[in-house]
Symmetry: C2
Subunit: 127 residues, 2 copies
Amino acid sequence: MTPAPIPLHPAPEVALDAVFFALSDPVRRAILERLDEGALLVSELAAPFDISLQAVSRHIQVLVRAGLVHQARSGRISRCTLDAAPLHDAAVWMNRYAKYWQAGFDTLAKHLLRLDDERAQSKKDDR
Amino acid sequence: MTPAPIPLHPAPEVALDAVFFALSDPVRRAILERLDEGALLVSELAAPFDISLQAVSRHIQVLVRAGLVHQARSGRISRCTLDAAPLHDAAVWMNRYAKYWQAGFDTLAKHLLRLDDERAQSKKDDR
DNA sequence: TTGAGAGTCAACTAATTGGTTGATTATGTA
DNA sequence: TACATAATCAACCAATTAGTTGACTCTCAA
């Protein structure tokens, strides 16, 4: 009997957890911004930061766990590349709320919200 | 001499930290999804979850800290409403990477990446 | 072969997180 | 008034996080 296969991709929900968590740190966001301009070594990524190389290495591993960075080790060096695909899933999730900041919201939707608030207020007052 | 005024809005970087962190938990994302359909009380928000009301109350406070939820207390009850504005800032940050998943990436950009990988590979080989 | 460099692993610490239960505050209501 | 309800506060616990330093592996080069 073979052991249960390890799933190649985590459940989408868990993946979103990891992606958003990875984005919640300024060092990790800065790493992603630098990788957007091209592949870099761990030591090159670490140079601008005022923390140890080990700390940066672990930040990179958080990004790898989220699927946002790939590491290609070749000898001593480890070339880090961006993989923006998981960001797409996160953007899709956030798209649900795009209606709130798209053109027209300031006039129409905020007005509707204000009406809603006033309705709730009057509902409270007439008890 | 008056004390230094407390800034109304945190620095944008810190705000992104709080927003992405708030999104990194499935309970908090579910709360935002429910609030997208209308304002709800804390107890209404808590009902579907298998954790204590206190735990949900603290999740809501994480969302409030991120500016994603407003609470209007009126007597015993606390009406929670969605504020998607901070999500906009997060979406703007993520937009930098939209080029990777937009149409044409599969053919053009991945090809460029492959070229880049091959260049790096040959650079390594000829030492 | 010897040593320096790139990177990770391991152990430790302090702070934060996410959950719990119990007490407390404040407001409706019988 | 007395009691139930809505919600938060406070204390506690286990797990995780983000940083440190030190040891280790592996590779390149003198």
